[in-house]
Symmetry: C2
Subunit: 540 residues, 2 copies
């Protein structure tokens, strides 16, 4: 009779019809919070949709956001999407040339920008070809060279607080997010309604993150980063109380928000949770009492941290593994029946891995020839994925799309991994970072983790350097905080790895260059190593 | 690039790839269990698919099952579906003429039947027009008039244990189940792959039943009844241990299975759990120690039972509300943040209601004119539903389909309900059973529940009788187990209802006729009342 299309609009409907009284709380200043309800948000989302109509935005047109995690950004997650437009969440930390490329390629017609990022936009505005208007996410417009410009409150004011939401085909784009590779221009990843519906339903699966109406959910992870891991959508579909930290992501603010708003689920990259542990130590004094799930992504946390969050804070760490192209979720911490029966030490070995594929996701390891690699916890292969919420293609990049999929339609993640006998995925490297030494693979990530496990090592990065005989050999950049010689580090590594895994050089540095998303910038290190040392062995 | 179709096959793949070692346990006799793994099941499912090929079954062709909950029936949930055929699960308790109608209309080519139901099939075999062969679900064929006939083990033996599963369009039928209304021939409800994928993902939502890999799941509810509420699929997708009671559904057997197999989630109609309480009393002696969720559906349990399962057995009751047309799930017990803040008595009032619509489901109350009814916990209306797993149409019944949907595409459930200020749905009657007295509605179910709350009443059924002045008036059929007069019952009802709600007659009987699915047969009672008494008032 009538098809049921899987759309973002259904999230908004459920939150409003059943949980209109539940709160969305934003930290707006050092000592100020903004509180309103899903019902309040709905009215403003309707007003926003009317305002977009008035700007003449057609179905399929895009707007850009450059904003922290706050309620106005939340409204921008729904207003455009539910009125059949698309929201392009822009990472303001990218270099100017990337910003210009992305906004022009996406043909964004409006840019919604936080006062804090105004200067960034001003710096590129001259080169933006399709932007018709800027909307400052505040209740007035600060001094700016942007033109024409309006504040968000004026932009949506005076419009009706109801909207006749269109029936949307589930195969319609609702969002666009660029993935910044280590080289070249970022690639656009278009998100469709259907995929996000499925991702959102999966997110609340008991064996995934199990988000519930009973939870208070705080995405510390930026809303411009793969839809804030999808959490604003998940919280809305559940009717969970939502807490947004605004620009206040220092560990003190995060701790205050968890404590003050009784946050039960919070998501952030490992550094936030490492800093939190440094701040709280062994006595959290009730600060994390409400926290039941500490969601972590981006890279795997050390065992000591997992144990501390289990035993001292009683806020177990749940890892997620994913990527921009996967909306982002592919696998997560799940202690299976089998895993639970193992001795404690083995259990923690599994807890350090990103875990088990979520329902609907298939993961396979394949070698360079596309042949399956054994799932024995040792054999390495590129992680290939199938999932209902994986992208079909990059935006206007047929060649990148072609390169990203295997012939039989599996997505090539670019990650090197292992899968053990219990089914647990482990990510050991990036395809681009793995060191191919004499036909064997050496994992730069495993070497880095082991180095960072040494008491005197603060940071360690391992890159591949060209080698006259072995093609590639590892080289380590190390930041020392204490006493350790190269020999100490060699001895440390030899406890776990064979001799031929050891880096040919240890270079002690003050700090390590990072990319705009906070990862070690291995491309830059490789370039500077090549400039300085050329090809190994350098002493021949 | 490559579409991801939402299919039943994905459940089988996940169970086999990740949880091949997990068990499926079937009670095969009083003291015997059959155990094997998902990996074992997979091989036999592949063999079954090959056997169907060999019978010349084309894509879309149907096979019928008439079977209890056991591992061979489990295999029949996947073999036909994943090889692009459809499994028609037949309720063997229906009258012969219904069986004939259903199997002929579905054009079932094979019938898979338990030895226990052979006689039933033999009784109608002459009238089955499309059945080419019978397969007895055993390892040999007992004496039978069925012809041609083969035992299941011979049927699948000798085929390869791998199968090249076809890519299936998600809009393909994988199953068919008939819904037996109170009047007329049963109507066929076709199920599609996509809908069951979505239903299955929803089933594990933390705010629905939250089924996990860690669970041991036992559907006591028959597998011919709306896909066993979908639980065999949900357990498979999760990789949960699955326990099937076979034909052994008496409370002693169920208790033994829960205890012996450490069942954590079990699903049955209320009578099973009422009988369990009668058997165990206040001291369950560890029998239910493993049980964490007692799933219940079909009708709402009394408060005393809910309290007992909470406080004594620590196996809380979770209600589900649904129907054949909804695959079946629409709403379920969820104690929202708001509900949890209420005093205990009010919480239990909410626990007695079927609960909150599942994510993806929208429920509305509408009056006879299709106008929305207020959600104040008092106002009654017919429950209208939208859900991604609701059927599109009845099988070859355009008129029934037309009548079942509103003009704007909502499914008319035929249930009368209320929705309270906390969003909790309550089912107060069937549209066909509600008593329309002088323009007001009297709920037969509320009267029945209140009567059954009287110590001396064992069973009570309230029907509508034609009335010369008020159009319809309530009449109560009561089975007494103790001392109570009509006046006692009147006084009892007056404590809660206005005088005009009271039945015009109380008829004391030995027992009440039931339908084949165990519900009170109100149609038969209405007919016999009309025959005996005609139109009320009978004394004028």
């Amino acid at each position: 009779m009538f098809d049921y299309e899987l759309t973002i609009t259904t999230f908004l409907e459920r939150a409003t019809e059943r949980f209109g009284h539940k709160e969305i709380v934003t930290k707006t200043g050092k000592d100020t919070l903004h509180r309103y309800t899903y019902a309040d948000a709905y009215e403003r989302i309707a007003q926003l949709a009317h305002a977009l109509d008035d700007c003449g935005l057609d179905a399929g047109d895009r707007i850009a956001t450059m904003a922290a995690n706050h309620y106005r950004h939340y409204e921008l997650y729904f207003g455009p999407a539910c009125s059949e437009r698309s929201v392009h969440t822009v990472n303001h930390r990218l270099p100017d040339e990337h910003l210009v490329h992305m906004i022009n390629e996406a043909e964004d017609r409006l840019v919604f920008v936080d006062p804090a990022f105004l200067e960034t936009v001003e710096g590129v505005a001259d080169e933006l070809e399709t932007v018709e208007r800027y909307v400052v996410l505040d209740d007035d417009v600060p001094e700016t060279t942007l033109d024409p410009v309006v504040d968000y409150e004026s932009f949506i004011a005076d419009y009706p607080t109801e909207y006749d939401w269109p029936d949307i085909d589930e195969e319609t784009e609702f969002g666009l997010c660029y993935t910044s590779g280590t080289t070249g221009m970022p690639k656009g990843v278009p998100y469709y309604h259907r995929k996000m519906f499925l991702h959102t339903l999966m997110h609340s699966h008991t064996d995934v993150f199990g988000i519930s109406e009973n939870d208070t959910v705080m995405p510390v992870v930026p809303m411009f980063h793969v839809n804030g891991w999808g959490l604003p959508y998940t919280a809305t579909f559940c009717g969970s109380k939502l807490v947004l930290p605004g620009g206040h992501t220092s560990v003190d603010h995060i701790a205050d928000l968890i404590d003050g708003e009784s946050v039960s689920v919070a998501a952030a990259v490992p550094t936030v949770w490492i800093d939190m542990e440094k701040r709280l130590g062994d006595d959290e004094e009730g600060v994390l009492d409400s926290l039941k799930k500490t969601l972590i992504g981006g890279s795997s946390p050390p065992e000591s941290l997992i144990r501390k969050y289990d035993n001292v804070y009683e806020a177990p760490i749940y890892q997620g593994y994913g990527m921009t192209e996967a909306s982002p979720h592919l696998a997560n911490t799940l202690m299976t029946t089998e895993a639970q029966s193992l001795p404690e030490d083995e259990r923690y070995q599994l807890r350090m891995k990103p875990g088990i594929p979520a329902p609907g996701v298939r993961l396979e390891l394949r070698d360079d020839d596309g042949e399956p690699v054994e799932q024995d916890g040792e054999s390495k292969g590129e992680i290939h994925a199938r999932a209902p919420w994986l992208i079909d293609e990059y935006y206007e990049r047929p060649e990148a799309t072609e390169a990203a999929f295997s012939e039989d339609g599996w997505f090539k993640t670019g990650d090197i991994g292992t899968i053990d006998e219990y089914g647990y995925l482990s990510v050991v490297d990036r395809v681009d970072d793995v060191i191919k030494s004499g036909g064997e693979w050496i994992s730069s990530i495993e070497l880095e983790n082991e180095l960072m496990g040494h008491d005197a090592v603060e940071e360690a990065v391992v890159i591949s350097a060209d080698h006259a005989k072995w093609q590639e050999r590892p080289v380590a950049y190390v930041v020392i905080d204490g006493d350790a010689t190269e020999d100490d580090l060699r001895d440390h590594l030899l406890q776990r790895f064979p001799k031929w895994w050891l880096p040919d050089q240890f270079i002690f540095v003050e700090d390590v260059p990072r990319t705009t998303t906070g990862k070690f910038d291995k491309v830059r290190l490789r370039e500077s190593f090549a400039e300085e040392f050329g090809t190994l062995p350098t002493e021949e």
